[in-house]
């Protein structure tokens, strides 16, 4: 069934979009990541202009995250206080990111910056996660032992210390705010929730309990993606409601199944799988950057004056 997307200005198969949304939604529920890092490249691949893909993706991530958070909320797996602090940084980051996106687009380097940051962030994060989780799987088949609850590093010397009772943490508020800020920039520039970065950062930098990480990151992603969607729709008119709805219908259903499946997975197994998936995307993008493109020339969309 073909359907015309009014803002993206192209005709797509509605069923294909629903299935894309469902598949990515499942992964999003499973790992507590938004799945944007898979969806945005896929949308661009089927011909949606990058700007519209990023804007629409931000909008659909709002819905996917709401759906995901509800499931975690019922299991009491959301640290609202910590999420709120992350959000403050997230809002600043999103604003900066939307501005940066416009600038880079004008300079013609947006695609390169997106690819490079994907390779950089995804590559390092996933490699670190993969080694750690594989080690955990190999080592502790029995009862998971949180051997080091308290690494004392310079991170703990930062000012503005705050207590987060839900996560049983006493850390500087600057840490979650900074993580939120980076997430916010990624939302705006890449049309991703930033979950793939937030989740490991919260585990390894903040030292949060794994069970709380997915719910809390989704909670904060609702607001950063909401803000990004708003700014993109108002500033650039790049949010396609029809496309967003199609992705949402598939996405929210997929996310529910994913969350359920995720409950059966052990923390380190989930992390290993997520790391593998993210690493695959990073490698694919790195290869694309290095090999000679099919046509070294590209054209922009016409600007009517």
């Amino acid at each position: 069934m073909q359907i015309y997307l009014p803002i993206a200005e192209l005709s797509v198969n509605a069923l294909l979009i629903l299935m894309l949304g469902g598949g990515v939604g499942f992964l999003s529920g499973l790992f507590g990541v938004g799945g944007g890092f898979l969806m945005t490249p896929l949308l661009i691949f089927i011909g949606v202009p990058p700007a519209v893909a990023v804007g629409t993706q931000a909008n659909q991530l709002v819905g996917a995250s709401v759906s995901g958070v509800l499931a975690h909320w019922r299991r009491n797996n959301v640290d609202v206080k910590l999420g709120g602090i992350m959000l403050i940084g997230g809002a600043v980051g999103t604003g900066l990111g939307v501005w940066l996106f416009g600038l880079l687009q004008k300079l013609g380097h947006i695609d390169l910056v997106i690819s490079l940051s994907y390779v950089l962030f995804l590559g390092t994060v996933s490699s670190l996660m993969l080694t750690e989780s594989v080690r955990a799987i190999v080592k502790g088949r029995g009862a998971p032992v949180r051997s080091k609850l308290h690494h004392h590093t310079w991170l703990h010397g930062l000012p503005l210390k705050m207590r987060f009772p839900r996560s049983r943490l006493y850390i500087s508020a600057l840490l979650p705010a900074f993580i939120g800020f980076v997430g916010g920039v990624l939302v705006a520039i890449m049309g991703i929730g930033g979950g793939f970065l937030l989740v490991p950062a919260m585990i390894y930098i903040l030292g949060m309990p794994t069970a709380l990480v997915a719910g809390t990151s989704l909670f904060q992603i609702i607001f950063t993606t909401g803000l990004a969607a708003f700014l993109q729709a108002v500033g650039n008119q790049t949010v396609d409601i029809v496309l967003a709805l199609l992705l949402l219908v598939g996405g929210v259903i997929g996310a529910q199944f994913g969350t359920r499946a995720g409950a059966k997975l052990r923390g380190e197994q989930a992390r290993a799988l997520l790391a593998l998936m993210v690493l695959a995307v990073a490698v694919k993008l790195a290869v694309d950057l290095v090999i000679r493109p099919e046509d070294i020339y590209s054209i922009t969309l016409p600007v009517i004056r």
């Binding site: 819905g63 759906s67 967003a244 290095v290």
Partner: protein, 255 residues
């Protein structure tokens, strides 16, 4: 083509044939070329997947017919990638002013060698003769040709420029017709369909007919809403997303 559109087509052709007979009886008034489109409006609706428009017409004697359909003009930047430290990145760009978003050409017989390039150039008949002017003037001819070819190649890949010259077929001595395809990614705006009658290597008669590509119905409303009330549109989009996510959460709670 569907049965309905074939019927729709038969009617104007019949009228035109009658018109030609009538015209033939009054040679003093004769116009050497008349042409029209089967439709002057392409409506982009929610189910739009591209469409055919038939251009038909009549000539008063011998000669070749060329049909050029061009879309709304806009500024397009062509970028060239090169390897910098092992990574392919954009290193050079040329902006072209007034690039037609769509270009299609069809002829009754090949014009190369028959019609002088200056004539083809003047009327922009054929991809080699489309007016694509760079905004920067300081460009070597080789560089310009390179970027120009790249622009056309990219447009062809998007299905917006013809890859080969189409065919205008004669029905008998005087009537001619050709079919023009507009893909699903066609830009909205005003298009022109120009018909040229070519005799002895020169254009002896020409006619230009406008064609409008416009969003109609639901997709038009959404587009308009997004442009005019972008704040409400943004809020609506987020509300829809939240509702959908929340509903899914409720529906799946029990099961």
């Amino acid at each position: 083509m569907t049965r309905r559109s074939r019927c729709l087509l038969a009617l104007p052709v019949a009228i035109l044939a009658g018109f030609c007979l009538w015209q033939a009886s009054r040679p003093a008034w004769a116009q050497s070329l008349v042409a029209d489109l089967s439709s002057h409006l392409i409506a982009i609706t929610t189910g739009f997947t591209g469409t055919d428009v038939v251009l038909f017409g009549a000539v008063d004697g011998d000669g070749d017919v060329a049909v050029v359909v061009q879309g709304p003009e806009g500024e397009v930047t062509v970028r060239r990638k090169d390897r910098v430290a092992g990574i392919w990145m954009n290193v050079e760009d040329v902006a072209f002013a007034r690039v037609p978003a769509y270009y299609n050409v069809a002829v009754t017989a090949p014009l190369e060698g028959v019609v002088p390039p200056t004539v083809l150039q003047r009327h922009e008949i054929g991809l080699d003769y489309v007016r694509l002017l760079p905004e920067k003037v300081k460009l070597t001819p080789e560089k310009l040709a390179e970027f120009r070819a790249a622009l056309i190649r990219n447009k062809q890949r998007a299905g917006l420029y013809t890859t080969e010259v189409g065919e205008v077929s004669f029905l008998g001595q005087r009537l001619f017709r050709t079919r023009i395809f507009f893909p699903a990614n066609v830009a909205t705006g005003t298009y022109t369909a120009s018909v040229f009658l070519i005799r002895d290597g020169d254009v002896v008669s020409a006619q230009t007919t406008p064609l409008l590509v416009s969003k109609i119905g639901f997709s038009a409303n959404v587009f308009e809403f997004a442009q005019r009330n972008s704040v409400f549109y943004a809020i609506l989009g987020i509300m829809l997303a939240v509702t959908a996510g929340w509903l899914a959460g409720i529906v799946f709670r029990k099961s």
